[in-house]
């Protein structure tokens, strides 16, 4: 592939969209190009895209790690995201509403009983401790479940090929998702309480930023920085990068493979759980299969950034998030998810190694 007409096409298309966007912002209309678009709307689209992108990128880190270290596409990753949301919010509710509301309604995230989100009152401004402990619980519970799934389903087939593992992970996904439905019910329901004056306005940018969005920004960036520190400055991180880079070489140098694999599941699963918890904080609602529906977007982020690259997953998540929200400028809003998938497919066709393809390990 020396001559790359596909890349040229994408560059031309991107340039055209950019010209169109500028024309729209300036309010100039030239035939099909241009139109009108307020800076405020573009700003809020971008901001929403960045917040969603951070959550997707956080979930993508774990998927990318299991992909590179265990060499398979884990289709149960999306359901780990859901597990984190349900377990984390159960704990957050327990702390926020203890005493006022029956425990069973709190732990099942409002499946039992008739308490409304307002009765429980979980919000970062009124019950910050509950929200933070919930985030921690989401990480821990999902990490434990990820390790348990590995022991039960994936460990007996370590030496099998990627497709066999992929099929097993579809089985694991079904088990986890429908146990969630069995335990927590199938209806979509509200989670966070609404609090007056929780929006911070940034006048000059025309942005209105929600307190929960700021929480997500801080939490996601914090977790990503912690991940970076772990990978670059600890022995475990070095071992993980070595395993991802060249498994045989890593084994020969005496890296304890099983310990690294367990650590991968703990970190990857925990981050998936945390991202699910944050996603619910962003959306305000929860449903047993939301993680599964999010999975393809997470895959898109990981593939975009380059499989195996943790930083690529973060960047890929941001790109997918921004595509997801800003594509509505050009296409009907019920196509924004399709647009994100189309970006993923184009990437696989034109540059399968991803944006960060050169550095496949870190």
């Amino acid at each position: 592939m020396r001559a790359r007409p596909g890349v040229l096409f994408v560059v031309l298309l991107g340039g055209l969209l950019l010209v169109d966007l500028t024309a729209k912002l300036a309010g100039v209309g030239l035939g099909p190009i241009g139109g009108s678009l307020s800076v405020d709307r573009l700003g809020s689209n971008l901001w929403n895209g960045i917040v969603i992108g951070l959550v997707i990128g956080l979930a993508g880190i774990g998927l990318s790690m299991t992909y590179s270290i265990l060499s398979f596409a884990n289709f149960s990753h999306g359901d780990l995201v859901s597990v984190g949301a349900f377990s984390g919010w159960g704990v957050a509710f327990l702390i926020a509403g203890f005493g006022d509301v029956p425990v069973r309604a709190l732990l099942t995230v409002r499946d039992a009983g008739s308490a409304s989100p307002g009765d429980i009152g979980a919000h970062i401004l009124t019950t910050p401790a509950a929200i933070l402990v919930g985030l921690l619980a989401a990480f821990v519970v999902t990490a434990l479940l990820a390790v348990a799934l590995d022991r039960a389903f994936y460990k007996p087939m370590r030496d099998r090929d990627g497709i066999a593992l992929l099929i097993a992970s579809i089985g694991a996904a079904l088990v986890v998702r429908y146990l969630l439905q069995f335990g927590y019910g199938s209806d979509r329901r509200g989670v966070t309480a609404s609090v007056d004056a929780s929006n911070l306005a940034f006048g000059p940018l025309g942005l209105s930023v929600n307190a929960h969005e700021l929480t997500i920004l801080v939490a996601a960036l914090g977790l990503m920085l912690a991940m970076h520190g772990m990978l670059q400055h600890t022995k475990l991180g070095t071992a993980m990068r070595a395993m991802a880079d060249n498994k045989d070489l890593a084994l020969i140098t005496g890296i304890p493979a099983e310990r690294v694999v367990t650590a991968t599941w703990i970190i990857g699963g925990g981050l998936a759980g945390a991202s699910g918890y944050l996603y619910v904080l962003l959306r305000g609602t929860i449903q047993f299969d939301f993680g599964w529906l999010l999975l393809l977007l997470i895959f898109a982020a990981v593939i975009l950034g380059g499989i195996g690259s943790v930083y690529g997953a973060i960047v890929g998540g941001l790109v997918i998030g921004v595509v997801f929200t800003t594509s509505t400028i050009w296409i009907p809003s019920d196509f924004n998810q399709a647009a994100a998938f189309a970006v993923m497919i184009l990437m696989l066709l034109l540059r399968p190694e991803g944006l960060f393809g050169g550095v496949s390990t870190t």
Binding site: G171, Y178, I303, F341, A342, L349, E353
Partner: protein, 451 residues
Amino acid sequence: MSDPDASDDSASTSGDPAPASDPPESVTAALVEAARESDLGLVVGTLLAVYAAATLLTFTDGLNSVVGLLETLTFLGLVYALTALALNLQWGYTGLFNIGVAGFMAVGVYTMGMVVRSPDPAFGPPGLGLPLPVGVLAGMGMAALLGALAALPALRLKADYLAIVTLGLSEIIRLSLQSSAFDTFLRETIGAGTGGGRGMGMPDNPVRGLFLVDGQAGNPTALGDLVFGVFGTDGLGIAHPILIGWGYIAVLAGFLIGFYLLLERLGRSPFGRTMKAIREDELVANSLGKDVNLVKIKVFVIGCALMGLAGILWFGSQGNVSPTPQFRPLLTFYVFIAVIIGGSGSNTGSVLGGIVFAAVLFEGPRRVGGAVRGLIDAETPASFADAVASLDPVTFLAYATDNVAPLQFVFLGLVLVFIIHRRPEGILGDRIETAAAVDLSERPAGGESDE
């Protein structure tokens, strides 16, 4: 044709599997052995076992219920078998891991509906008003066209990437059909719409016209008179829709035989040997001068056309189609489970897998759960937490049997993992027409990239 794969294959393609086993140890073993010798015997035997179990479950409710349940089970078994056969061509024979099956089925049935529906319907989106056979061909053609498009990534990508691409494609198809903007666009450009999220009604099933004049209930044709008189409310007391359902099952069975013969013929042709060679070792097939890319595209086109036809036969007969939840990726996984149960690479296995999946995994747990629920005299708690808090096993059982659908999926997942762990070759895996034991889908760690 003198490539080594061809000579390797000739032993296994010549019919039954190479026996080379020890003499059977008991009478039952001998019977099983004899049944395995005959593909038809195996399929019929499985079907009879399913029928016997279904009859046991419902015989107290009378003949109508029994025949009705058998009709449902047979219909589901046949449509799953049809789809599994199409997938087997792509995955079992050629090793192309396509998990966009639901999307191709949706394209087939939607195209058929849009071509055949009347231009000025009483309700729902308008269509082009062409005859049904044209619609069926158009549906297959459209699915084949998209299959050709989906084959492009298959030429370059490894199996797990292809899986994600095809899954993404099937979701793009589902979201497009769901979109009201796309519906409006199609209505304005070609004059036929998809109906968006509400879906569209399907054209009348011609089989119904065989029994009823113009499909009107209470106005039977000569054939309808005969059949209804013997089996219907005047005879054995079976409801007429069930009898018409059996008529359609006969048509489906005809299509199944057609699919089976086509795939068997394909599998044993020189083209089929090239497919298997690609599955076993793409590099070798390429080195021997086979046009690997062309074969892959052809396989995608044929397989997707068959998936489109299966979608038409399945959902086109169900009155109404809508993109969600009918064409969620879950449908694809059902078909995959059917192929895996039967053993990928075996056509008989796919048929058997379809029947076993539909009866034992798909419909069975619901029916058993419902039957058990009928025996329990307890109120169903509102939620899982209430059921646990009651500390009463009977109440808990009432909750579990009333919510048997999620438990069924859990069971499905466990079965899938179990098969992959213990019997990756499926029930009939020993029949896989294989040339070598090397699995090509394995990704060499740190190998060269696609570029």
